[in-house]
């Protein structure tokens, strides 16, 4: 059903961006490549506005935390071309101590809450976002709970003594 395939997407991306994007891989047929925070907006805009590719649908924005890496936070975009029925995944790895990346809200209104959620969980600062505040957690929260170092359970609990659990 798809009118273009991954190879054509790779071709037009490399001819446009050259070495500003990393070598694409295709885990389970989903074209995946990385780029840098400086280039991400250009890449997304190109994907969205190119007359042939038409990646007009932002499926998802999320992040991932690899504490052991130098650039420890990865922001991951899933973009879908509804007309061509093909998806791409774009990854941007940024510094975990000062995670900053330009916002995609200028391209898709729908990026607004996805970026707020990512900020809430990982502390990624989407620069230029109209209203980057916490969305799911309470406003008073000081940590970014989805980072690996934070525990799942509430550390302030008093009713859960270790000896009840044989620890």
């Amino acid at each position: 059903m798809g009118k273009i395939n991954n190879q054509q997407v790779i071709q037009s991306l490399t001819s446009k961006f050259g070495d500003r994007i990393t070598v694409p891989t295709e885990p389970f047929g989903l074209l995946t490549f990385g780029t840098s925070a400086d280039n991400i907006l250009d890449v997304l805009r190109f994907l969205k506005e190119d007359g042939e590719l038409k990646f007009n649908y932002l499926t998802d924005i999320t992040a991932i935390h690899f504490p052991e890496l130098e650039l420890s936070i990865g922001v991951i975009y899933h973009i879908h071309s509804l007309t061509n029925n093909i998806r791409v995944r774009v990854k941007v790895f940024i510094d975990g101590n000062d995670p900053r990346i330009p916002t995609a809200t200028s391209l898709w209104e729908g990026a607004n809450w996805m970026e707020r959620e990512t900020y809430d969980f990982f502390g990624v600062n989407f620069e230029g976002h109209p209203n980057l505040v916490r969305i799911l957690n309470v406003d008073e929260m000081t940590v970014f709970p989805m980072r690996r170092e934070y525990p799942l359970e509430d550390p302030n609990r008093v009713d859960k003594k270790d000896y009840f659990f044989g620890r």
């Binding site: 499926t59 991932i64 898709w108």
Partner: protein
């Protein structure tokens, strides 16, 4: 109206009032808070606050083995939990390169389409309640009970079903289950027909819903809408067709689309989808007849728990049981995105695996969350009562919204 200036609370010229709608307001059917600036009956602007039942699914999922994540997916969109369960199982199967037998696919299709019906029943029933017709809700809840009875026959649970396992089902559908499904296919259409007779051409209902919250397809796509509400705007995007999973390509069904994207169109699209789901279930039943009997899971002993009696009596089964439970089986270090058509839209699972027994990172693309963000902007200029029925026709499920 949209250009009405919003003055600060202290401004003596402020003529709007601030109305706090929610988070426990009965008309919101869940825990959504909207702080609305009202000019009389008309909304000037709104701010949505969500997160009132944030339960940290993604964080819990990082601590659970693959097969224990279904209880979490259950509680995301609890109106159609089997779709979430199956979606998760299919994600893991994609990761592990498990090929399920056709019969399993068809059984899954039956359960998923039943779940879609029950999801749409809730939504359209509640839409009726909000427009002032309680009786439709009572008719439809009765039918939901019948779907629950089918679930009970298959897996023992009603709402949060935890249905299925990685590779297939925990047990085969018994004869009673098939009989109940067949009975449902006979009993349900007249009820749905009656419901449509009550609403479709009902003057009051049309006046209340037609033209309310109409959305252009460009705007809907810009806000990443998916599911019935996107199709009501006229975009024929359905994951079941675009990226068929679970052998949906074998089925013959239509994708209903609307034209204006208003509340009435969404209602019609949902109703029509129920008819299509019935068609799919009928086809699946016919197809199952032709498949070998008794096949209800893929032959993947590394990932599918053996039956308990074999664990006690069979060395091989015991080893596999041990390996699965202790997580000693290597899984590929890669990432996978799998999407299914949930009750509310594209339900995506983005799984990053580091080779262990539990996901390194699991992100749910939750349609309710993404659909709901347009609610406050689109409410501007609307009457308050229209905003209420707009919310019920978006069918935002709090559990899915807040993760």
């Amino acid at each position: 109206m949209i250009n009405h200036p919003v003055l600060s609370d202290n401004d003596p010229q402020k003529e709007t009032i601030t109305l706090n709608l929610g988070p426990t307001h009965p008309a919101t059917h869940g825990v959504f808070q909207n702080i609305l600036e009202m000019d009389g009956e008309r909304i000037v602007s709104g701010v949505s606050t969500i997160g009132y039942i944030h339960r940290a699914f993604e964080k819990i999922a990082e601590h659970r083995p693959f097969y224990q994540i279904t209880p979490l997916t259950d509680r995301m969109n609890y109106c159609s939990s089997p779709i979430n369960n199956m979606g998760w199982h299919m994600t893991v199967e994609k990761l592990l390169n498990i090929k399920t037998p056709k019969r399993v696919d068809y059984l899954r299709v039956i359960v998923m389409e039943l779940a879609r019906i029950s999801d749409h029943l809730i939504c359209n029933g509640i839409l009726g309640v909000d427009t002032g017709a309680f009786s439709g809700f009572l008719y439809l809840m009765e039918e939901r009970e019948h779907i629950y009875e089918i679930y009970e026959e298959i897996c023992g649970a009603r709402l949060t079903t935890n249905i299925g396992r990685i590779g297939g089902f925990e047990r085969d559908f018994n004869d009673i289950a098939f009989a109940k499904i067949k009975k449902f296919l006979v009993k349900f259409p007249p009820i749905l027909k009656e419901f449509e007779t009550l609403f479709n051409r009902n003057r009051i209902f049309i006046e209340r819903t037609s033209g309310v919250a109409a959305v252009d397809p460009e705007v809907a796509l810009n806000y990443s809408w998916s599911g019935p509400i996107l199709r009501a705007t006229g975009v024929d995007y359905d994951v079941r067709v675009n990226e068929p999973y679970s052998s949906y390509e074998d089925f013959d069904f239509d994708i209903p689309v609307g034209t204006t994207g208003d509340v009435y169109d969404r209602y019609i699209v949902r109703n029509e989808e129920m008819w299509q789901s019935l068609r799919i279930i009928q086809q699946a039943l016919d197809k199952i007849e032709k498949e070998p009997k008794g096949v209800f899971h893929a032959d993947v002993p590394e990932f599918y728990l053996p039956p308990k009696e074999e664990v006690y009596n069979n060395m091989e089964a015991l080893i596999y049981h041990f390996k699965i439970v202790m997580g000693e089986i290597d899984t590929p270090k890669t990432e996978v995105y799998h999407a299914v058509e949930g009750g509310n839209g594209e339900l995506g699972f983005y799984l990053v695996n580091d080779g262990g027994r539990s996901p390194y990172r699991l992100h749910f693309r939750r349609p309710s969350f993404i659909n709901y963000q347009m609610y406050a902007p689109m409410s501007a200029g609307m009457l308050l009562s229209d905003a209420i029925i707009n919310m019920s026709s978006l069918n935002v499920i709090a559990g899915e919204l807040d993760a």
